[in-house]
Amino acid sequence: MRFDVIIIGGGRAGTEIGAALQKSGINCLIVAEGLSINPSKRTEFAACGGTLLPGDSVVGGGFDGAVLKNVRTENLVGTVLEADFFVLATGKFFSGGLASTMDGIYEPVFGCDVQYEPDREKWVNPDFYADQPFERFGVVTDDYGRVSVNGVTIDNLYAAGEILAGAVDIDGSAALVTTQIMRRK
């Protein structure tokens, strides 16, 4: 099955990007695992012709060098979902966009490069109400919003929303990715 763009994550960033692209005639699929705080955004995306795959999650992708060709999901066993562009918008720890062990932080779907503090004692601030360092951990992107794996930029895989390292800017990162994909499409 083929789409122009596959967006992984049906939260605010994913649905914003999906709705904007779909309205410009770019055919999108959103794989939306779990519940959304604002489900009306998912409805809006579907209403303008986008394809929503709820309750499913992406388990891995097929790469050709620095290009992501397709992804597989947990429920659609044997189905390969292809696209020209992919967006990773799976959020931080709670939603599963980032995962951690005692020894480190990682991005579980593609193994994207993640920025974090290697010393685990520095992941948290002892004051609950202070800024918590772990909330700034996330995947790193280039100036165009593209992620890298093992230091190699993936040409057509973007990231947006809370999964990004640094201060959270959901709308800004979603706008950047939307613009980039529109420009290249």
Partner: protein, 517 residues
């Protein structure tokens, strides 16, 4: 100025146990505690009711003392004790000859220790390390120290004692060298007052060195930090110990719906005793050693890490302070230091708290010329008088409350207050109202210690908002809701921060989203 027969300093298990004994013998008793009951080592340990087996080889007297008290507490504090029994397992890396010596020593101390086949041990305790080469069954048990302390404090109050939490001793009142009372400061308002008594008892745990110094006596204590991890569910039925010389992280104790592994043992400076933090290295060690007891711990979510300080006392005849005892230390400062009216009760362990109270009260009675026998070994604690028939009310929350408060549930009024506020531990509004009325609750952290509210898998993430509101209403101070919530969130964070990875980090992120300012 108020006058008492006895003032007890310290609201740990030793203090409340002594207060109960004094009150039962008819003494006019005041207990003062600078924070909340069980704020020190009493609330920061395994919750293990020792059979004494752990000390059988190294300290025969302590072992014999433990098994006597173990049997007494199973009787008088049945509602606080769960008779899980314990295993001492031998692993391939342990000295195989130790087990025989261990069993012999246990029997000599009066502890019923029985060797069982490893296959049988695995059947009895499926979580145990399957590579075990030997196992011994002993009468270890699980005890809830919060509940035990609370029941002692409640019984002391029922028999006329006054319990004054959040009051710090700032000075001793002396007359001609004799201690005749103490100056107190209300830890919250700062207001100072003076109370007087014929005998003042130092039962302040590791802080006892400072209290003694304030009275002019020297006790050398060695703060030994013990760190523990509490897991998100109960993997084991029985207490699991290693059959070898006592070492780090070699006991796994089941308690309620969780289990606890510990401890480490490191000397720490006195300045750290008020704010113990568990380090990443300690967490790693606890987890590694814990997995040798029960391998499934590796995949079990850790709820929190915490640490307590053992009040180890240096022997009086050892100027280096290196020689310490785990035994009970009762000091008559009149004979020892020429300070009449002042005694210290320290050392010991949770399992022997009742005996510590008895010994201290015997000495107090002698000083006061009171001739009344100790009855704490015979009279059941409030809540443990009898088993109720739970079939009459089958709601889970009712059963949970009965489990925590025993017959105390008869004083709970569920009418209009049956709403469950903490879903992990099934705490209702009625139980909160009961705790406020009978169990000296001043804030949400105190309430946690009395009811287990927020101690479950969500660590208060889902309930603390609504519980803060309910508590503020029950206490009649609705304007303090936010203050309760903040204090509680900070306290929970202290235990969560050292184990923030995996699912605990997910929970932490969620908690921050809900409660950050």
């Amino acid at each position: 100025m108020k006058e008492y027969d006895v003032i007890i300093i310290g609201g740990g298990i030793t203090g409340v146990g002594t207060a109960r004994d004094c009150a039962l013998r008819g003494l006019k008793t005041l207990l003062v505690e600078r924070f909340d009951l069980t704020n020190g080592a009493t609330g920061r340990n395994h919750g293990l009711l020792h059979s004494g087996a752990r000390y059988a080889v190294t300290d025969r007297d302590s072992a014999a003392e433990c098994i006597r008290e173990n049997k007494i507490l199973k009787r008088i504090a049945s509602n606080c004790v769960e008779e899980t029994e314990g295993l001492f397992i031998t692993l391939p890396e342990d000295d195989p000859a130790y087990q025989d010596k261990f069993i012999r020593s246990c029997r000599e101390a009066g502890i019923n220790a029985k060797a069982i086949d490893p296959v049988e041990a695995l059947r009895m305790e499926p979580s145990v390390n399957p590579t075990l080469t030997g196992a011994v069954k002993v009468p270890d048990a699980s005890v809830d120290p919060f509940r035990l302390a609370s029941a002692n404090a409640l019984d002391a109050s029922i028999h006329g004692a006054e319990i004054l939490t959040y009051h710090t001793v700032v000075a001793f009142v002396k007359e001609g060298g004799r201690v005749v009372g103490v100056k107190l400061r209300d830890s919250r308002s700062g207001e100072e007052s003076e109370v007087r008594a014929s005998v003042t008892v130092n039962a302040a745990g590791i802080w006892g060195q400072k209290i003694a110094a304030m009275a002019g006596a020297e006790i050398r204590m060695l703060p030994a930090k013990g760190s523990l991890l509490v897991f998100g569910h109960r993997v084991n039925r029985m207490v699991i110990n290693r059959c070898r010389k006592p070492a780090n992280a070699d006991i796994l104790v089941p308690g309620d719906v969780v289990c606890v592994v510990g401890t480490t043992s490191d000397k720490v400076p006195f300045e750290e005793c008020d704010d113990m933090r568990v380090t990443a290295a300690e967490v790693k060690l606890l987890l590694e050693e814990g997995c040798k007891l029960a391998p499934s711990l590796a995949d079990t979510r850790i709820l929190r890490a915490y640490a307590g300080v053992r009040p180890l006392v240096a022997a009086d005849d050892d100027p280096t302070g290196r020689s310490t005892s785990r035994g009970i230390v009762l000091l008559d400062h009149e004979r020892r230091d020429g300070i009449p009216g002042f005694i210290s009760i320290t050392g010991g362990k949770l399992t022997s708290y009742r005996l510590m109270g008895e010994l201290a009260t015997d000495l107090i009675c002698k000083k006061l010329n009171v001739n009344k026998p100790c009855r704490t070994a015979q009279l059941p604690l409030p809540g443990s008088e009898k088993k109720l028939n739970p079939a009459k009310r089958d709601a889970l929350a009712f059963k949970a409350a009965e489990g925590r408060h025993g017959t105390g549930i008869l004083r709970m009024d569920f009418a209009g207050k049956s709403e469950v506020l903490c879903e992990c531990e099934h705490v209702t509004r009625a139980e909160i109202a009961y705790a406020v009325k009978y169990l000296d609750v001043n804030n949400l952290v105190d309430l946690r210690r009395r009811t287990r509210i927020g101690m479950g898998t969500c660590q208060g993430t889902f309930c603390m908002g609504k519980v803060a509101k309910a508590l503020a209403e029950e206490l009649g101070c609705p304007d303090r809701e936010k203050e309760f919530l903040e204090q509680y969130a900070r306290e929970r964070w202290k235990g969560m921060a050292p184990v923030c990875w995996g699912d605990s980090l997910r929970e932490a992120e969620y908690m921050r989203k809900l409660y950050r300012k």
